[in-house]
């Protein structure tokens, strides 16, 4: 295996292929920086050029881009409070407050360091597990997957700071919004009001942009100032890197979570940053500063979302199940180069698989270095007056949400969700549970339906199901009863979920 790994490295170290990695990385950077543009956009730009390339070069180009999107998307998340892609929403929670305190460069330094470590850790873990990942995935049948969605949903309790009730209600609202569109099991469309736009449900990028970005823009205009709120910046990239070194175990832990969540097919890839964030809050000492600019709140999600891209390659490459729109395009790219994802990726096509892992590692390093070198300069964005910045950002956001499906419905949805986000922000309701509920709504319904129609009630006695159920109960008790309530008013209903 190690020999094969070295061989793959020599394949990828040819100048032309390295060139493709750099090109892919550069495009990935741009796509990541522009708010709302996710990996899918970058992929579709590059896909036509992959045609006719040899698999190693083509994968260098595609994977180079995939690897750095979640590094570069940190810029808008930290500097503007706008999710750069759906994978960096949780970074906003503490990254943006840090930028508001003038510490943008520090937050970015910590974020990029965590990203590169997360990416490298993920690549190593993927290399180590690629040979026995298939049985791991095959152990998860529909009932186990259903329980994992429930585990994800239980994070709602952890993420609703202050009032558990508000958090649960926001989560339920998310579940409801996730119901819009085609039902997973029967041939019915729900709440679509005969608009084809809604047949596929509300697009996640539009929801995330509306929920987080629009309220920030409104607030920025109301405050009539720049983001940093003052004329000078404190905190440096170096300080951020030191922070990351200080919290190295948090990085490793979050990367591990990222890889694991990424490996589970058809589940919460888009919420991995929230899960890592929630666990960081719950397991850290002195956690009262989370949400107000705790550097650990930047480190955890950034490590996790880069590591997730590595984990996500398991269902994508070994089973041909795309975990996201990005990996779906990756599969198309593979086919164009004459390779079909599947069991052969760890036998006949092992060299391709290994070059993919190497590309991931190399691109992560290049991407982080590029981002770090610009972090100081770019963090000055937070000194631009809101009056100047907001109109520009509004245009970018509307275009970004429009390109999601190129339907005018995107713009309308963006504005409606934005209004909802603004109201929730104003009355101090947590928005993270809504996103989690939204993302997990369809998988929860799907896997419950599959479990019931295949196993009746007998699935409830499966060993893994019971283990996960116990974990969920522990999280619910620990996440609510064990919480110190900082607010003056106790949560209604005693705070129990």
């Amino acid at each position: 295996m190690f020999e094969a790994g070295l061989e793959a490295l020599t394949l990828i170290l040819q100048p032309a292929r390295l060139g493709f990695i750099v090109l892919g990385t550069s495009i990935g950077m741009i796509v990541g920086i522009l708010p709302g543009l996710g990996g899918a956009v970058g992929m579709s730009v590059v896909l036509p050029f992959v045609f006719g390339m040899d698999p190693y070069s083509g994968m260098a180009l595609l994977m180079g881009m995939v690897a750095v999107i979640h590094t570069a998307d940190t810029f808008p998340s930290v500097l503007l409070g706008i999710p750069g892609s759906s994978g960096s929403q949780a970074t906003i929670m503490d990254g943006y407050p840090l930028a508001k305190q003038g510490q943008a460069a520090r937050a970015l330094g910590a974020a990029f360091t965590s990203s590169v470590v997360g990416g490298l850790f993920g690549a190593v873990l993927l290399f180590a597990t690629v040979n026995f990942a298939r049985p791991l995935v095959l152990a998860l049948r529909s009932p186990e997957l259903f329980m994992l969605t429930i585990l994800g949903l239980s994070m709602v309790g952890v993420l609703s700071r202050g009032s558990a009730l508000k958090g649960v209600l926001a989560g339920v609202l998310g579940l409801l919004l996730g119901v819009v569109g085609g039902a997973p099991a029967v041939s019915e469309y729900r709440f679509t009001f005969n608009s084809i736009y809604l047949f596929d449900g509300i697009p996640l990028p539009v929801l995330a942009l509306g929920l987080f970005a629009l309220p920030e823009m409104i607030e920025l205009l109301i405050r009539d100032t720049n983001i940093a709120g003052k004329a000078e910046l404190t905190g440096s990239r170096l300080q951020g890197i030191k922070d990351a070194v200080k919290y190295r175990w948090l990085i490793i832990r979050s990367s591990f979570i990222g890889v694991l969540v990424g490996m589970v097919p058809g589940l919460g890839g888009p919420v991995v940053d929230w899960i890592a964030y929630g666990i960081a809050v719950r397991t850290s000492k002195n956690n009262e500063n989370f949400g107000k600019g705790d550097i650990r709140g930047v480190i955890a999600p950034e490590a996790a979302n880069n590591a997730k891209e590595c984990g996500a390659l398991v269902p994508t490459m070994l089973f041909g199940i795309p975990g996201s729109s990005t990996t779906a395009i990756l599969l198309g790219g593979l086919i164009l180069m004459g390779i079909e994802a599947g069991p052969r990726m760890v036998s006949t096509n092992l060299p391709v698989m290994l070059t993919i892992i190497w590309t991931l590692a190399i691109a992560n390093v290049i991407g982080a270095l590029l981002c770090l070198s610009f972090a100081g300069l770019v963090s000055k964005v937070s000194l631009i007056p809101g009056k100047v910045l907001v109109p520009f950002l509004m245009v970018i956001m509307v275009v970004a949400s429009y390109q999601s499906t190129r339907h005018w419905g995107d713009v309308i949805t963006f504005l409606i969700i934005g209004l909802l986000g603004w109201v929730m922000k104003s009355i101090d309701w947590p928005r993270a549970p809504l996103i989690i509920g939204f993302v997990l709504s369809t998988p929860a319904e799907r896997y419950l339906h599959l479990s019931m129609s295949r196993y009746g009630f007998s699935w409830m006695s499966f060993p893994i199901v019971i283990v996960i159920a116990v974990i969920v109960v522990v999280i619910l008790l620990y996440g609510t009863a064990g919480k110190k309530h900082k607010k003056d008013t106790p949560p209604p209903g005693g705070g129990y979920v």
Binding site: A185, G332, R344
Partner: protein, 374 residues
């Protein structure tokens, strides 16, 4: 710092220009002696996101189209995803001008949506004309460790036969019809996310009979067959002149007709069988079709039809296509005209209503009529 900045800006500009390089559609002037000129751009709507099966095949064909259409126009793939393919088809039918610069690439999943008259459909294949078609195949295979190890077990399996499906209003519908043709007792579990997820469920034994297209079968199932974890049972074959013949991609696997004869002693016949053949030809024998609107200029249609014939004979294309959609011949020239005509006449409103009724009665499809277009 400034130099670094300049480098980044130039990288940015480079990437952005690649972004837009392919986008410049020009209006055609039509003064040349061929219908298209190299300044024209022919846009092909693909109703699914980039990277899917149909998109991949369209992107494979685009450079060959450009090369073989007289006048060598640019050919660009436009992804208009949404509504399970309906959105892009509607856009083509309602909003794209029939001036020869717009084409549509349909596929099995939009063709079944049309057959079942799914909500939201505003297009009609009868208002279009075909330029060429791409066939595909389907293999039904079983999990020998979960009760079905050969065709002979189908009528008396040691475990219930379970089939996983994404939903009734999908190309899975014809698989359900195939089970009915063979008189099998199959429990269908609806709600899987896609063919990849169903393959995993199959390996787990959660379901024990499955269907895959040619490419999915060759890439993902053949390794399982080699390891004894899956057994091919039958193919849907290809419908040629009303007869089901063996799939050229799987000359060693019997067709559904042969399996019927083996199980029941007689070849299949009757209304259900005729319905199966009509729908099978619409979903597999013509799995993907390149269309113009009915009112598109005849010269344009002819140019693309001619290109189809040349592409089909291009050795470079043939070697490429082999790995992407298997050893099938494109359906080109006059053949596509008659194939589409046969398909649409075989799929009369009565046949479609009968098919809808079958799915409503047995599989909970919401009742509707094939007639009520618009």
């Amino acid at each position: 710092m400034l130099r670094k900045g300049l480098i980044l800006v130039s990288i940015l500009l480079l990437a952005v220009s690649t972004l837009f390089a392919a986008g410049g559609a020009e209006s055609r002037d039509g003064s040349a002696d061929t219908f298209y000129t190299s300044r024209d751009t022919l846009e092909v709507i693909v109703s699914w996101s980039a990277g899917g099966g149909t998109d991949t095949i369209a992107r494979l064909m685009a450079p060959y189209l450009s090369k073989h259409i007289e006048g060598e126009p640019g050919v660009q793939i436009i992804n208009v995803a949404g509504g399970g393919g309906i959105q892009g088809h509607n856009e083509f039918a309602l909003r794209r001008r029939p001036d020869g610069t717009n084409m549509l690439f349909s596929a099995g999943s939009s063709q079944i949506a049309y057959l079942l008259n799914e909500p939201g459909i505003r297009f009609d294949f009868r208002d279009m004309q075909p330029a060429f078609g791409v066939p595909a195949g389907a293999v039904i295979y079983s999990n020998p460790q979960a009760g079905v190890s050969s065709v002979d077990d189908l009528l008396n399996p040691s475990e219930p036969i379970r089939f996983g499906s994404i939903g009734v209003a999908s190309t899975d519908a014809i698989v359900l019809l195939a089970f009915d043709v063979l008189g099998l007792d199959v429990q269908t579990i609806f709600g899987y996310e896609g063919s990849g997820a169903i393959r995993v469920a199959f390996e787990q034994g959660e379901v024990n009979i499955n269907r895959d297209g040619t490419i999915g079968y060759l890439g993902n199932v053949l390794p399982l067959v080699e390891d004894g974890l899956a057994v091919p049972l039958f193919t849907f074959g290809q419908v040629r002149d009303g007869q089901v013949v063996r799939d050229p991609a799987f000359p060693d696997i019997p067709t559904i007709a042969e399996v019927h004869e083996r199980l029941h002693g007689v070849p299949p016949s009757g209304d259900t069988w005729e319905m199966f053949k009509a729908i099978s030809s619409a979903l597999f024998t013509l799995e993907k079709v390149m269309w113009f609107q009915k009112d598109a200029p005849a010269e344009a249609v002819q140019a693309v039809k001619d290109a189809g014939v040349k592409i089909s004979a291009d050795p470079e294309f043939r070697s490429h296509a082999q790995s992407i959609f298997g050893p099938y011949e494109l359906i080109v020239g006059d053949e596509i005209e008659s194939a589409v005509h046969d398909m649409l006449s075989a799929l009369s409103v009565e046949v479609r209503n009968e098919f809808i009724q079958f799915l409503v009665d047995n599989y909970g499809l919401s009742p509707r009529s094939a007639e009520a277009q618009q």
